[in-house]
Subunit: 393 residues, 2 copies
């Protein structure tokens, strides 16, 4: 394939299972069909939140000549972020250290480009989000995989310590974690900070923490969220509004850097140049104008928790082994047979679409998105039962 | 600066003059002040086009549950592009070879990532758009600069031929050209195609043409536009709606690939993976829904031509040496003194903001954006006269 670049060939290799799932699979053949119960992807299956629509509607009519001009870090949007971080988490972030991005994808890409060079190693924890590894490879970095603890899905601190080398430049931490639903507790984050601080000193070069906090607002049981940024200064806080609004097609997010980060002005400027390099990864003007209202918009967490509890109760009744997630949209049941791809096919025969664990480095599991609507759950549960019985037969 | 990556340090070095202009200059200090006449950047100085607002307004209310779900190449938007290319230019592009992008910036970035690898050489013509060189460097490519012909700003075909090496992977062609306003004629494009075809055969590897057509709809005097894609098959047509709508804060554009391009399906898939790599560089859902109406929306070219002719007449009367552009928003007068940066300061003293030629590799010239409104032109012309006289004093 000399027609395309080796980097994109590698990307396709690393993500071949995901790309096939997204472009040519039971999922693509069946999703959207009447009667299909779609639990595969964290996509909406109810009408968009009225708060999102009214936020956009309210800002649509231009108020100035520059309303739709080149928009980078629009001061109103930045101020919304600063105030939100102060009110929600007691964090004091300077406006000049907030970089508005087109959602979480580009926040990750920009962080990578801003501080890593080709050949740098970046640690990520497995199970990971689909695209960490390929995005790191695309940027010329060496992805280093560390499995989380199998007993409780917490970070495996000793394995992280052992994975650090003189070439380690960053570690990606995703809490609440997709797909395990785990929130890493303060004591884990504190111990991780000690490990990174010590290793940075030994290396004579900062090891950054990229904190992917996409699901930070999707929490159950009134649990509190602790950001790694509270424990480790050289942290890129990466956020997207795509989860809380469940509108990933209207992309806005940000990077926030603590004032105490060494050379923070240079890092913020490197984020700006990285945005230009990857292709003007600034969110659209309308979304930035609407951010003060979007900030207040969040899907109905009570209803989400109801769906979580309902499904867990029923899945356990059927016989599934499934743990209780603390956050995110996802359940992660064990497949009743070792081959999760085959079990996903059994579910698809019942018109139930789920994500095979193989795609998220959790072989023997499968992922269920709670963004399915009540009717899909109602109709889907007998399918989960029939597939379970077929697998056990 | 070990806090940031070497690639971003290089980016900042290459674009230091541009970054300073955009972040800390007479331009940033004075732009937007009352009385200021802003000719510096191709940004709007009149209210947004009503057609753009109504296009967005009409599609804002969600029609389906998936209205704001993950959006890649939305079929309605792709169909709009296919139909537009057929109607306007008689081109037959397959829907599967259209890749929707967040404007021109990301179209360029995606093309680079899709088919080049680190170490590949990419030729660009000078004067270039600000960010070609830095984007190429950011992607690990080696930028190779070829000056256009000084007599008529046409491509210098012999210089391009001489610049091609076995490592050449692509050439960027920008017609109509920012900042010269030149449209490269069919005979130039045909001869360029011959050069590239011959060199590709010699190299045993395709040399792609990245055709940056951002200003394709901004034409004067009823002139016809010829795309390089008509003459050379391995061409990435790169388009953005940001110029025709003069709304660069609402970003939508595309890459179109000809069906006859070798391995075209692989190339289109490489574009998709490149979009994921750089950070989900797909345009927002609302813009894709609205594209059929946005496609019909264009700034008032008659009025733009009126402003061009008015300013050229007056600038020539004052004594400026300025040629007639065939397209784009820009005039490119010679600075009356060799030091264009100093002349820009003289203009700024008159509350007239322009872009120094040094920033666009045209030392001794300066750039005037015709997106200034009539009142700015009216008020600015005496300033152009006073600065001219001060420079000659």
């Amino acid at each position: 394939m000399t027609a395309i670049s080796s980097r994109m060939t590698r990307f396709a290799d690393v993500n071949s299972a995901v790309l096939q799932f997204l472009t040519n699979s039971d999922y693509t053949r069946k999703a959207g069909e009447p009667g299909i119960c779609d639990f595969a992807i964290g996509n909406p299956h109810e009408m968009p939140l009225p708060g999102l629509i009214s936020a956009l509607e309210y800002q649509l009519q231009p108020k100035t000549e520059e309303w739709y001009a080149y928009t980078m870090n629009e001061s109103g949007a930045v101020q919304t972020v600063v105030q939100s971080l102060k009110d929600r988490y007691g964090l004091a972030i300077e406006p000049e250290n907030v970089i508005m991005t087109t959602g979480g994808f580009s926040a990750i890409s920009i962080a990578i480009h801003a501080v890593t060079d080709p050949g740098d190693e970046v640690i990520f924890n497995s199970p990971p989000w689909f695209f960490y590894e390929a995005m790191l490879q695309g940027a010329g970095c060496i992805p280093v995989r560390v499995k989380v603890r199998p007993d409780n899905f917490d970070l495996d601190l000793e394995a992280i310590r052992a994975a650090i080398t003189p070439k380690t430049r960053a570690i990606i931490v995703n809490s609440p974690n997709n797909p395990t639903g785990k929130i890493y507790p303060p004591e884990t984050l504190r111990a991780l900070a000690d490990i990174l601080t010590e290793a940075s000193a030994r290396n004579g070069r900062i090891i950054y923490l990229f904190s992917d906090e996409a699901y930070r607002r999707i929490l159950y049981d009134g649990v509190e969220y602790s950001s790694p940024i509270k424990y480790y200064v050289p942290t890129f806080m990466l956020y997207t509004y795509g989860k809380q609004t469940l509108a990933p097609g209207q992309r806005i997010g940000y990077i926030a850097l603590p004032s105490a980060m060494p050379d923070v002005r240079s890092v913020a400027l490197a984020c700006l140049t990285a945005q230009l390099t990857v292709g003007f990864a600034q969110p659209n003007a309308l979304l930035q104008h609407a951010l003060a209202d979007i900030e207040k918009t969040c899907l109905d967490l009570e209803h989400l928790q109801y769906k979580r509890d309902w499904m867990i109760r029923e899945l356990r009744n059927i016989g599934y082994d499934v743990h209780l997630p603390e956050g995110t949209f996802y359940l992660l049941p064990r497949s009743p047979i070792p081959d999760d791809q085959q079990f996903i096919r059994l579910l698809a025969e019942q018109n139930v679409l789920c994500l095979p664990g193989e795609l998220i480095e959790m072989p023997g599991y499968f992922r269920v998105s709670l963004t399915a609507n009540d009717s899909m759950i109602e109709r889907g549960l007998p399918g989960f039962k029939a597939a379970f019985e077929a697998a056990r037969a």
